[in-house]
Amino acid sequence: MSEFTPAANPQTGHTEIITPDPNAKTRIEARRVTVWYGQKAGVRDVDMPIYANKVTALIGPSGCGKTTFLRALNRMHDLTPHARVTGEVLLDGVNVYDPGVDPVEVRRKIGMVFQKPNPFPTLSIYGNVVAGLRLVGIRKKSLLDEAVERALTQAALWDEVKDRLHAPSMSLSGGQQQRLCIARALAVEPEVLLMDEPTSALDPISTQSIEDLLTELKKHVTIVIVTHNMQQAGRVSDYTGFFLNGDLVEFGPTNPLFTTPKDKRTEAYITGRFG
């Protein structure tokens, strides 16, 4: 976690360079999002659009606040004692931090995939995929079966597991487990999928299969992916946001950001001078 106090860093307010895209539809809009851990801010005053049916990558060195910002989008900070979020996160125009909004509803619309595959070990492959559907009260077997096939197909896991849907989820390999977690998140048909370094615990082949998946997935769902791997961001994303020390330094379409960054710090990071 980046830990600094506003006093220690004189740069406040809107320091970031944002290149908006007038042609793209905005799904989420972050407005002056600040995440506080006690008296310290993890990310500060972030404004960022997240465009519908695109992949947005969040990059930056360790502890720059990219994961902290990602977790602010689906109110995961609610679960951390002493963590507090200020600012607004507008999902289709509705502030998810509005007192009238139920965080449970927010998380149903904004799914999440974590750094380490975390299937529920007591449930089967099938049970994992339908876990979210059972929560919303869907009990009918035909509906569940249909959803399982759809979600597993979207996660490119169906062919590998269709003959052993009721096998324990822990019998899968690491890469398969991560795709199972993606299927689990997709089964509830979220509008947005947040991915927190989803390939960092996986081997190159599993990483490749998940990266391939993203291009397919963005047809159905808006994706935000945190990665510390710049090549990965370059390969999979349409937009990139570069974080440093809790600030969003630069945001824009991936290609221009990587080839002609506007901020010196972005350039330094991308060319590998630090990070």
Binding site: N74, M76, L79, V104, E105, R107, R108, G111, M112, F114, K116, N118, P119, F120, P121, T122, L123, A131, G132, L135, V136, P168, M170, S171, L172, S173, C181, R184, A185, V188
Partner: protein
């Protein structure tokens, strides 16, 4: 040059040769000996209990001794331990059934919901409950719980039944306060801390990634509890319940003080009953006949056997229930 000489100095440095050569073997021998002594101790315990009880067990027959319902050390010298076996199993299992919901609730509350200061107080008290000597629970049972249950529960129920449902009276038994049900209540309050402590640890050990996985699907707090936390912690919760059951099976003093010590099959709820540990503790000093003495040791043998079976079953089930995040 400098470096080379340092290296050769290191290589040539003398070590205590005997330690280098024999150290591992001596260590292994000591560890092996101590480990084997545990096996010997357990087998020896069972064997000598059987030996001590064999006089009566042979006279009554193995199953005759176990399933006989007459225990008469005074006149007929007939020994059947079934009433005590049933008394032990009923009190222990009923105490387990009564205590697990309370213990689990305490564990869930302290591990998940309570503010830290309150969880600390409750956990401290739960641990304290485990440290209180059982004779203290016995005194509490005699002077507080039994009179209370008699006034508040046994007598009203008994009086109601004798007027409205006379057939029920013979199953209720003497509402004196000292009997089967009081024993169960005392026993269940004694074993709460074992289940509570192990369940609490198991619940706190559920990885954050598991909880977040469920929250991220849009689960409420209670849904996370039943979908992820309790299934993940089930091994630890079961282990706690089994530890409590083992403790209940062997509990002697408190139960001997409140259960009324009747040597008949406990078919009444309030009436006197007895358990295997209680009969051993109470009759050992009074035994004059060899056959009686041997019968008491025989009770010990069968108690050992029950504990063995319960533990073996528990560890088998525990292996089935254990949740591993490793691939298998």
């Amino acid at each position: 040059m400098q470096q080379a000489s340092t290296q050769s100095a290191l290589i040539k440095r003398k070590t205590s040769a005997i330690y280098r050569v024999l150290g591992d073997r001596i260590f292994l021998a000591v560890v092996l000996l101590l480990a084997l002594s545990l096996i010997a101790l357990t087998l020896g315990l069972g064997y000598f209990l059987y030996l001590g009880g064999s006089q009566t067990i042979n006279k009554e027959g193995f199953f005759g001794f176990l399933t006989g319902t007459t225990w008469d050390p005074a006149l007929r010298l007939e020994f059947g331990i079934w009433p005590y076996v049933v008394g032990t199993l009923i009190t222990s299992l009923a105490a387990l059934v009564l205590s697990v919901p309370v213990a689990l609730a305490a564990a869930i509350f302290t591990a998940e919901y309570a503010p830290r200061w309150l969880a600390g107080i409750i956990n401290y008290l739960v641990d304290l409950m485990a440290a209180v000597p059982s004779v203290v629970y016995g005194i509490w049972g005699i002077f507080v719980l039994a009179p209370f249950l008699r006034e508040a529960f046994y007598l009203p129920v008994f009086l109601w039944a004798s007027e409205n449902a006379p057939w029920l009276v013979r199953y209720l038994g003497n509402p004196a306060g000292y009997g089967l049900f009081t024993g169960i209540v005392v026993l269940s309050s004694m074993i709460i801390p074992f289940t509570a402590a192990l369940s609490r640890d198991a619940i706190s050990l559920v990885p954050v990634a598991q909880r977040e996985g469920a929250y991220a699907l849009g689960a409420t707090r209670w849904e996370v509890m039943q979908m992820v936390i309790l299934p993940y912690a089930r091994g630890g919760i079961f282990a706690g319940a089994m530890l409590a059951l083992g403790r209940a099976l062997g509990e002697t003093m408190a139960i001997a003080m409140v259960i009324g010590n009747g040597n008949i099959l406990p078919y009444t709820l309030f009436g006197p009953a007895s358990t295997m540990p209680a009969v051993i503790a109470l009759e050992l000093k009074e035994a004059v006949e060899d056959l009686h003495y041997s019968a008491i040791i025989g009770v010990g043998f069968f108690l050992f056997l029950i504990a063995f079976i319960v533990n073996a079953t528990a560890s088998y089930l525990l292996n089935k229930l254990k949740v591993s995040e490793q691939r298998f």
